[in-house]
Structures are given as structure tokens and as C-alpha cells.
């Protein structure tokens, strides 16, 4: 039993990890077939992961409504929104549009979800402005460098900036293509080393926090 609970999962990780790392170097159709099947499986398992998340949400908000916690009315709105969307979704066969005609599900999507999500994002424009005004200060030499680079790129990426200071376009191109690219590259290399090291540790059971209870 203890083996099944502790070592079993680690063994599964070890085997699947090694097999799918090795698969990369094996061009034989048998190995390709295996990759095909398993990636298809991952698509399906991905669906179950979503169910897992949603069930928790059901639980949290149901509890809030039951206990009449502060703001349970909003949880109720959430429930109505969710159940309403699901009902209309089934009614419309899960399609937003059939032959170019919008369904009721599509209506919810277009006139509720799209503006809601789009606006959540647009608020950022305001926050970035206030962040720029309140915290974007040349406190140190580093911050000053950051500031200057940011202003050049902001100028160089819009027609007005290029019109007022013609060199800003080329300068921002150079910053992006050379200075920025070199830093991003170093970061990418470093992060990738980290990814590989971590994957190796996971496969060999040295890193098992993903299973929960790291100290077993």
C-alpha cells in the first residue's frame, strides 16, 4: 500500500519522463505513433483538469450562498451567469454561430463576455499611466537608464514620435533588435537551463512538490 501511495507515482513519472525525453531522438514510426497517442490523451486529460477547477468554484460559491456570507448576492449573480450560459450553450449546441447567424450562446459571448474581458484589459491603460506617474522615477542610475530607454521606444514606435524626432524610429529599432535581443537571449538561455534541470529532477524523483507533501 505504501509503495502504491509513494513510490508508485514516482515510478510513473520516471518511466514516462524518460520515455518521452528519449522519444525525441527516435525517429522510428513506432515511437512517433506513441507520441501521437499520448498527445491526444493529454488533450483529453486537459479537459478533465478544467472540470476539476470548476468543481472547486461551485463549492466555494455554493458555500457562500448557503452561509449568506457578505456579498453572497454576487455569488448568486455568478451562479446565474454560469448556469444561464451553460443552458444557452446546450440549447445552441455549443456553437456561437451556425452558418454565420448568431445563436443565443453567441449573443452572450459577443455582448457580455467580449466587452467584459476586453474592458478588464483596457483598464490597464489607466493603471500604466498612473504607475508611470507615481513610480517611474529615476531613483538610481539603473532606473534612469530604464527611463531613457522606455522614452526612446515610446517615441520611436508611434508616427508622432518619428515625425517630431526622426532618429527615434531607428534608435528604438536598434535598442529592440540589439540591446533588448541580447538581454532576452541571455535570460532565455538561463531560464532554459533551469527548465532542463528541473525536468531532470522531476523525472528522477528529486523534485516532487507537484505531488504535494514534499517531504515524503
Amino acid at each position: 500500500m505504501i509503495f502504491l501511495r509513494r513510490q508508485g507515482p514516482l515510478l510513473v513519472t520516471l518511466i514516462t519522463g524518460l520515455v518521452f525525453a528519449a522519444q525525441y531522438y527516435v525517429p522510428h514510426p513506432a515511437s512517433e505513433q506513441m507520441l501521437t497517442s499520448v498527445t491526444k490523451w493529454l488533450q483529453i486529460i486537459g479537459g478533465f483538469a478544467l472540470v476539476l477547477g470548476v468543481s472547486s468554484l461551485f463549492h466555494v460559491h455554493a458555500a457562500k450562498i448557503r452561509r449568506k456570507e457578505a456579498g453572497w448576492g454576487y455569488s448568486f449573480v455568478l451562479y446565474v451567469g454560469m448556469l444561464g450560459t451553460i443552458a444557452l450553450g446546450f440549447w445552441s449546441n455549443g456553437k456561437e454561430a451556425i452558418d454565420g447567424t448568431m445563436t443565443a450562446f453567441g449573443w452572450i459571448y459577443n455582448y457580455m463576455m467580449v466587452p467584459l474581458q476586453g474592458t478588464m484589459f483596457a483598464i490597464l491603460a489607466f493603471f500604466i499611466a498612473s504607475a508611470a506617474y507615481r513610480s517611474f522615477r529615476a531613483r538610481s542610475r539603473e532606473a534612469a537608464v530604464l527611463l531613457i530607454a522606455a522614452v526612446i521606444v515610446m517615441m520611436g514606435r508611434v508616427p508622432l514620435g518619428e515625425y517630431l524626432i526622426p532618429i527615434s524610429g531607428d534608435l528604438s529599432q536598434w535598442i529592440l533588435n540589439v540591446l533588448n535581443a541580447s538581454v532576452r537571449r541571455a535570460i532565455l538561455i538561463g531560464v532554459s537551463l533551469g527548465t532542463v534541470a528541473l525536468s531532470i529532477k522531476i523525472i528522477f524523483g528529486m523534485e516532487r512538490s507537484y505531488l504535494g507533501g514534499g517531504k515524503e
Binding site: A21, Y24, Y25, V26, P27, H28, P29, E32, A49, L50, L52, G53, S56, L57, V60, Q117, M120, F121, I123, L124, F127, I128, S130, A131, R134, S135, F136, L146, A150, R184, I187, I189, G190, V191, L193, G194, T195, V196, A197, L198, I200, K201, F204, M206, E207, S209, Y210, L211, G212, G213, G214, K215
Partner: protein, 460 residues
């Protein structure tokens, strides 16, 4: 077509009818090459040796050869056909010698037919046609250790698809023809059957680097288990304890986020490790901990970690299962909900660990407006500027991983960090040496730097 039959020359045999830029000794490796596909290991060793000797520039030899004037159009020489090595089958490669008439005006045709017997090569199906100054081995992606011929040879790889169908295990005849205006001269067909291979030799450098790096990591972890390894102090880390202390003083909760990715991502794992430490301190100080999630698997894992931390702090009774709670997988509904929590519960310390997308600024700006101490640690490079400008401390990129190692002092983590440092040092070395060699290569027009450089290329 009259000359076609007259010009049948066996691809692999030495031809004296045509002056080529070749020392005669070159034909023996060609013969070896044919055997190579039966004994890859033997071939590998021989090839390595050979290439070391031969990988000099042969252009001077070319220069000395005088090109014969006005010969009738000769067929391609030294035509060799073989199963494309290191692939999944359904592909054949043909290689032939360069000719003095190689130019944009002359064209090569690759001809294909099924079976071994070819009654008339002229009836074979044309599967490719291109100018004669193209498709050299040196232009292909083969690294030196799998290159089936010297760089000056022509090569063409036929694959299934787009009008051609090659089946593994079936024997095909292939040849190459030279075309100039209406004149066509066809070499003798060679035969080969496509076979699937078990190993892609082109990617051996990738495998070797994976093994080498894996070895370094294991070695470093082993060392870390035996003795203390030096880690440089990461200034942002002291702030973590400070922030928890302040939250305790104010009697306000701590908000901890693990980022947008799932548990398969290293940033989330590092975030989970740091959560373990934060939760332990929070338990010890009896401060409330709030961990909103957007990914169910991560939530489940973090619940376990938090529980464990409370247990280790000796306060299992204080642990609440719903301190980790799921909000939604959707980025902005999550952000809006967390912003709501920040404004309503006014946590004294906000931790942003893990990977973040556009929601970063919205979270940190709202957090800053509530006056909380904010500590970020992220490997999402496109969000780092905001964290740097809006948080009190930011662990930049790998400093996040370093932080989890620094906090835990766990041999595995410290060792990994050390292993990565060695990896980086090696890469720095490669960048330095590689640049010097590449410069020398272009300065002296030499090929030998490729022996080193190819090993650090992505070749497939």
C-alpha cells in the same frame, strides 16, 4: 537523348573520363560510405577520423584543375542513392559529384521509379528540378558527424508527400540528369529502399548536452549533500521575512500568488516551494494566509504544501483548507477577483511569485494603492519592468529559483543552482571560444572551426 545510354557510369566507381577536383583517394571513402549504412557505428568512427583529415578547404584543388573546353554534356558523376539516415523512413537521399559546368544555366533533374530494373532511365519520373549551382551538401543541415559526403558534393533528399510517394521497405531506383536547353544526360540509376531508423544521429549533440548537463546537476547535488555550497546573498530575500513580520504587527493577512502556469512549470514549483516557507512563518506568527488560485492542480498541490508547513510549524490546528482557494482559470476574472480581495481585506504583504501575464500591473498597482509591502519573483520577462517599478523587491528571473534554494538550503535546490551555474559557465566558454573560432574561420577561410561549432548548433 542519344548520349544518354553512352554515358552510363556506375555512380560509385571511379571515373577517369572526366577531370574532377578530386584526388583519387577520395573514392575510397565513397565506397566506405555505402557500407556505412549497414554498420553505422563503424562508419561513425571512420567518418570522424576522415573528416578530421579532410575537413580542409578543397577550393585550391579546384582552382588548379583546368576545365575542359566544350565537351558534350556529361551526366552527373558518382551518383549514390541511399536511405536517408536518421529519419522515420519514407525518404531517400541522392548524392553526386559537382561538375565544372555547375551554374544557374544548367539544371539538374532527380528521377525516380519503383523497383530495381530500369529499362530506360529516360522514362523515369522527374521529381525535382533545380539549377546546377544549388543543393550542395554544405548547404544542408547535416553536421560533420553525419555528413555522408564532403561539402562540395550535390545532394537531394526525396520525401513522401507533394506528388511523391516513397514507402518504407520498397526498393526504388533513383538517378540524376543534367539538363542544358533540350539536351539531357542521365547517370546510371542507383537503388535503395527507405527504412525507418531507430536513432537520429543528427541530434546526438542535443542528447550529449542533455546527458552532460544532467550529470553536472547530479554531481552538484551530490556535492551539496556532502558540504555547504556558497550562494551569494539575494538582497530581496530578507524582505520576505520582514514583510511577514509587518503583517503580523498589523494583524492583517498575507496574500500569496503562484502565477499563471500549472505545476509542470518551474516557476510555479519555485513559487510553491517559497509558499511552503511563507506558510511556515505565517503559521508560526499565526498570521492569516490567503492563496487564490487559477489552476486546479496547483491549488491541490499548494493545499498539501500549506498543510505540511503548518504541521512543521507545530500548528496543524490553525490550518484551514480554504486558505488555498480556486477562483477561475480565466486571467482577468481572476485578476478582478484578487483585486477585490486586496481592496476589501487590505493584506499587509502581497507576494507575486511565479509566472504572470498582463494581469501583473493591475495586481501590483492595486496592491501598491493599498499600501502593502509587495515582493515579486517572476521569470516572465515581459512583465518584469512592472514588477521592478511597482514592487518593493523583485526577484528577477532565475533569482526566483535561487530564492527558493536560498530559503530552503536544501541540497537538491542548492545543488541545482550550482549545476546551472556550471552550465552557464560552460555556455560563456562556448560563446567566447566559438566567437574566436568563427572569426578565425572567416579570416582564413577554413572549415576546421566547424568541428567545434557544429556541436553547438541545432542540427536536424
Amino acid at each position: 537523348m542519344l548520349k544518354t545510354s553512352a554515358s552510363f557510369v556506375l555512380g560509385s566507381s571511379k571515373s577517369s573520363t572526366y577531370p574532377r577536383g578530386y584526388a583519387s583517394g577520395f573514392d575510397s571513402p565513397a565506397a566506405l560510405l555505402n557500407r556505412r549504412f549497414e554498420h553505422p557505428a563503424l562508419w561513425k568512427a571512420l567518418m570522424l577520423l576522415l573528416m578530421t583529415v579532410l575537413s580542409q578547404s578543397w577550393s585550391p584543388v579546384f582552382a588548379q584543375t583546368d576545365i575542359q573546353t566544350k565537351t558534350p554534356l556529361a551526366p552527373p558523376q558518382d551518383v549514390r542513392v541511399f536511405d536517408t539516415p536518421s529519419d522515420g523512413g519514407d525518404s531517400l537521399t541522392v548524392i553526386w559529384a559537382p561538375a565544372p559546368y555547375d551554374s544557374a544555366a544548367v539544371r539538374y533533374q532527380v528521377l525516380l521509379s519503383e523497383g530495381t530494373s530500369v529499362a530506360d532511365p529516360a522514362t523515369m519520373k522527374v521529381v525535382a528540378e533545380f539549377p546546377a549551382n544549388q543543393r550542395y551538401v554544405r548547404e544542408s543541415k547535416w553536421p560533420w558527424w553525419t555528413r555522408p559526403a564532403t561539402g562540395d558534393q550535390h545532394q537531394y533528399t526525396l520525401r513522401s508527400g507533394r506528388g511523391v510517394e516513397l514507402k518504407s521497405g520498397t526498393l526504388y531506383s533513383i538517378t540524376v540528369a543534367t539538363v542544358l536547353n533540350d539536351e539531357r544526360s542521365i547517370a546510371a540509376p542507383g537503388q535503395a529502399a527507405p527504412e525507418p531508423n531507430w536513432i537520429n544521429w543528427n541530434q546526438m549533440n542535443n542528447l550529449l548536452l542533455a546527458l552532460l548537463f544532467g550529470g553536472i546537476v547530479f554531481y552538484a547535488i551530490g556535492t551539496a549533500r556532502k558540504r555547504e555550497i556558497f550562494l551569494r546573498r539575494i538582497p530581496g530575500l530578507d524582505a520576505v521575512d520582514e514583510a511577514i513580520g509587518r503583517a503580523t504587527e498589523l494583524g492583517k493577512p498575507i496574500l500569496y500568488m503562484t502565477g499563471a502556469h500549472d505545476m509542470s512549470d518551474p516557476s510555479t514549483i519555485a513559487a510553491a516551494v517559497i509558499l511552503g516557507r511563507v506558510a511556515k512563518r505565517a503559521a508560526a506568527y499565526e498570521t492569516d494566509l490567503l492563496v487564490p488560485h487559477r489552476e486546479p492542480i496547483t491549488m491541490a498541490v499548494c493545499q498539501e504544501i500549506t498543510k505540511q508547513a503548518y504541521l512543521e510549524a507545530g500548528k496543524p490546528d490553525l490550518y484551514k483548507d480554504d486558505s488555498n482557494f480556486f477562483i477561475t482559470s480565466d486571467q482577468f476574472s481572476y485578476t478582478a477577483a484578487v483585486d477585490g480581495i486586496m481592496l476589501r481585506k487590505k493584506p499587509a504583504a502581497n507576494f507575486f511569485m511565479g509566472h504572470y501575464f498582463a494581469e501583473a500591473l493591475l495586481l501590483t498597482e492595486t496592491g501598491a494603492s493599498t499600501g502593502a509591502i509587495q515582493i515579486a519573483g517572476t521569470d516572465s520577462d515581459h512583465q518584469l519592468p512592472f514588477f521592478v517599478t511597482t514592487c518593493d523587491y523583485t526577484l528577477i528571473g532565475e533569482e526566483l529559483y535561487a530564492a527558493s534554494a536560498y530559503l530552503s538550503r536544501e541540497p537538491v535546490q542548492v545543488g541545482t543552482l550550482r549545476g546551472q551555474d556550471i552550465g552557464k559557465a560552460l555556455i560563456l566558454g562556448v560563446l567566447g571560444i566559438g566567437t574566436i573560432l568563427a572569426t578565425l574561420g572567416i579570416l582564413f577561410d577554413a572549415q576546421w572551426p566547424k568541428l567545434f561549432l557544429d556541436f553547438f548548433r541545432d542540427v536536424k
